[in-house]
Amino acid sequence: MTGKTLTRMDLSEAVFREVGLSRNESAQLVESVLGHMSDALARGETVKISSFGTFSVRDKAARVGRNPKTGEEVPILPRRVMTFRPSHLMKERVAAGNRR
């Protein structure tokens, strides 16, 4: 485990190396991919990327929460949350890569 953190910059660098585009255009393309995925999710759509995983949006009901510090009850409003379910391939590759 190298424990590094990759960012958009590393993804656009990978795109830059893979296809003969400028660094600037590669960065813009990474941004559009994330943008389209975010837009679809914000509309409540499921985003299913085969052999990667599925992002889905779920509705959560209202409930009474508690401030763990003060013990005070606070209402939690109904809200939408996003979940990611990794594909089998991703799970296998992540498990295999981190096995010692």
Binding site: G3, L11, L29, H36, S38, M90, V94, G97
Partner: protein, 93 residues
């Protein structure tokens, strides 16, 4: 939305690119994320979310059918945490 629809949207916005290059671009992005996690790295995409790897400790499991104890080895699983901006967008009508 599925992978091919995502590719189509990017292709429509970039008529100067060959379709097959758009496919390579989109595939490279997802491939890079998987490769990073396979090395144990994190991928942090501000506003969208962060992919990381979590360790599940070894444990004694049970075969639910027979009730038999089985040793489950330590393993690593992918994890995603939604970014603040996207979380807020999901809830703004």
């Amino acid at each position: 939305m599925i992978r091919s629809e995502l590719i189509q949207k990017i292709a429509d916005e970039n008529p100067h690119l060959y379709q097959r290059d758009v496919e390579r671009i989109v595939n490279t992005i997802f491939e890079e994320i998987i490769e990073a996690m396979a090395r144990g790295d994190r991928v942090e995409l501000r506003g969208f979310g962060a992919f990381s790897v979590k360790q599940r400790d070894a444990r004694i499991g049970r075969n639910p059918r027979t009730g038999e104890s089985v040793e489950v080895e330590e393993k690593h699983v992918p994890f995603f945490k939604t970014g603040k901006l996207l979380r807020d967008r999901l809830n703004s009508k």
